[in-house]
Symmetry: C2
Subunit: 460 residues, 2 copies
């Protein structure tokens, strides 16, 4: 494969590639309520077929998984993981319509495509297919490709495990690649070797045997002698996490392993280039939550701390004016982040056990989904191919042992025994937030980096 | 005045009286958002004019107050207090439209008028005017009447104090009467001599100097190193009230006086007839929040305990599915109930001081309104007139030193120096809740009891 010819072709075709990305982004594919999911799955199947592969929309108990193969008799096979679902946008304020795929000047990032999913991760998914399509037109694809593109990543990939477990042979390959915009907001490529695990949890308190109104809100004057489900949920929540956000669940840190020898090797190198202000910019915060922690110690908190987050809570009257009511139900939506070597089952049981031991047996803790942490060694050929790709384009990557976020990469490690790596040269940001964006001019570089990566991986 | 002739006339006119009540109820007059407020104020002014008085819709900084006079040169003057505003209905499930004024079979109460405000308190207000109109047609009204009908009771009567303070002379009379459905769900008249005070409070936590995202929600993976406003609000809330709902605010119980000698006299009599199951029915609860407390001790908790209630809280994503976000703001709407001899200013300062001392200086505690507790002695002629009225109709009232709820009756006691009493013979229920109702057949009895009461009061 002549890499140069492929890169030139990507350049000359980029205007139409960008339009293809914009078109893909304009179909909402909202995981939470299913909007546009079926249509988007069909589009992804179409992408596989456009590059000459066989695609299939596989139904699941939830949103379908798009599976596909492009087998060319090459020695190496790369499994492409991706997702076509996105987060909801209700209640968010955007500078442009969240599904308009508009290109706007977006300081300080320059000209950006702003749309839900442009970064996480429909943008890179479509860009990947643009690159492969160009390779197939002007050169030879140096590896076989397989595809598993799910539609429930934003809901803990609920039906992916069953699919992978029952299709091990069909999915088998040498490594898994997740097309991803891997440049941060300084234009620095960042490689994450691992991801935290996660549990989606819902806590609910309703009036019942323990007391409280059971089926309707009551006048709050009765709070003098009738128990309050909203207060009870507050007490249950505050029993889980202390004032400094330390987790108070008994034994929660028991299985926390901390950095491995490989991590300890990588951490000082990362700390040397780690920029705290970048994180504060990204999170629009003035300070970290740990007084006086910096560099390696701060990074360790980020990567090796388990977490219990509140994603939302609601009870009673929250609109304008006053309503002196005590609601009969109060609910909190939460996520739990797991680090090595915690398990989903273990963490969930510890939370449930804690609630029961602290007298909150009646507070329902519902596990809506979850999966364990995962980790690829920096020494894997697929990782080295990515690092070489970045060098080819003039970048030296920052290597993070773990990202703070979660993704179901354990499936590839644990079930398929394949190393997993996300990457690609483009900057995007604000996933799960208003004005999710990607830098337009770098999308071309991303597509080139995909071609380079396929080339390097074939040569490893 | 021939009471018998008046009662007969109320009976023969009741069909049209009921229609007048239904018509009044069909206009929403929602305090929180102002829906129908102006129109309803005009209707109330019309009622005053229909019975021969002078009515005036007086603008305030919020919803108008309807003031009026019907001066007939009688020796005694009764000031009628009332409210024409009601609670919101959003998010509630009703068996009939909440402003349809439908009459339905409503077990176990029988035929009921179901509508927001039918009990609290547009039903009794319109019923009062029906009674006065009948008296004026067939007999002689034995007292002068003055009126102060506010439109912001459900928002802590924010503008009533200024009105009363600047109209003391115009409002002056011998006593204040609040038309009210005073029969409970056993058909027993209940007289409340006092009311708790209250503060409407809003607690809000936003990212800021202390940490946390300031202007938008962030991906919850950052919870590992960026502080969470939703967790901070939970911690601030849980610092206020303990697991058993005991108030932890320093000095909060300092000004709590407990029962007075008159209360101590009334309490055993009340305890002798007090029916716990009635309260549990009303609140749809299986138990009280105090293990093993009954009778007088339970009643004391209800009447003489200050309270901090959560009316609602909200942050982040609370809809279907998952959204792994940390919101930049979290908010709780609360009410605080005050007992003798707490003050609004004192209680609010204690809460604010507590938050500051516990490291929650950044949690905003906004006082949206409030007023103190109040109390009328059982020996006041207006109270005795009401008790005699109940006896006239064959009822012996249960006398409660205080109701757990709040109303701005202190204004009449403290500013005008007038005793205050609510009452009337009809059963209604579920104020501030879905399916607020009143027993249709008893509304006629209510109107008769109003006539009896005016007669008795004139004779005292």
């Amino acid at each position: 494969m002549s890499l140069e010819r492929v890169h030139e072709a990507i350049e000359s075709r980029f205007a139409s590639h960008l339009e293809a990305i914009r078109e893909f982004l304009r179909t909402p594919s909202i995981s939470a309520d299913g909007t546009g999911i079926a249509e988007t799955a069909e589009q992804v199947k179409g992408f596989i077929e456009e590059v000459g592969g066989k695609g299939e929309v596989v139904p699941t108990a939830g949103h379908p998984i798009v599976h596909g193969e492009l087998m060319l008799g090459k020695p190496k096979t790369l499994l492409i993981y991706g997702m076509y679902d996105v987060m909801p946008v209700e209640g968010e304020e955007w500078i442009v319509p969240p599904f308009g795929a508009e290109i706007v000047d977006f300081p300080p990032h320059g000209r950006c495509l702003v749309n839900r999913g442009v970064h996480n991760t429909k943008g890179p998914l479509r860009g990947f297919f643009n690159a492969v399509s160009t390779i197939r037109d002007v050169a030879e694809l140096p590896v076989n490709l397989k595809f598993v593109i799910e539609g429930e990543e934003e809901q803990s990939s609920r039906n992916l495990p069953a699919f992978i477990k029952s299709n091990k042979e069909r999915l088998r390959g040498d490594a898994v690649y997740f097309p991803f915009f891997g440049l941060d907001n300084r234009g620095q490529p960042v490689v994450h070797l691992g991801a935290k695990g996660m549990i989606h949890l819902e806590l609910e308190c309703r009036g019942g045997e323990w007391g409280g109104p059971r089926t309707r809100g009551i006048h709050s004057s009765h709070g003098a002698w009738i128990a309050s489900p909203p207060w009870r949920l507050v007490q249950a929540l505050s029993s889980l996490v202390g004032a400094d956000e330390t987790i108070l669940v008994e034994g929660f840190y028991e299985d926390v392993q901390g950095p491995s020898p490989e991590d300890e090797e990588l951490l000082p190198r990362l700390a040397a280039v780690f920029d705290e202000t970048k994180i504060l910019d990204e999170t629009d915060a003035l300070r970290f939550k740990f007084e006086g922690l910096h560099g390696e110690e701060l990074l360790k908190k980020y990567m090796f701390s388990p977490l219990i987050n509140i994603n939302g809570y609601i009870t009673g009257h929250t609109g304008e004016g006053s309503k002196t009511v005590i609601g009969h139900q109060a609910m909190a939506k939460m996520d739990v982040r797991l680090v090595p070597k915690m398990t989903v089952e273990g963490a969930a049981q510890k939370i449930k056990g804690h609630l029961a031991r602290h007298g909150f047996e009646d507070v329902q803790a519902r596990v809506l989904g979850g999966y364990p942490w995962s980790r690829t060694s920096v020494h894997e050929p697929v990782v080295q191919a990515l690092l070489e790709t970045y060098r080819h384009h003039g970048y030296e990557a920052e290597i993070w042992p773990y990202i703070g976020g979660s993704a179901p990469f354990f499936l590839f490690h644990d079930e398929l025994g394949m190393p997993f790596i996300p990457g690609g040269l483009c900057h995007g940001g604000s996933p799960h937030s208003p004005n999710e964006y990607a830098v337009v001019d770098q999308i071309e570089l991303f597509e080139k980096s995909v071609a380079t990566f396929l080339h390097k991986f074939a040569e490893m």
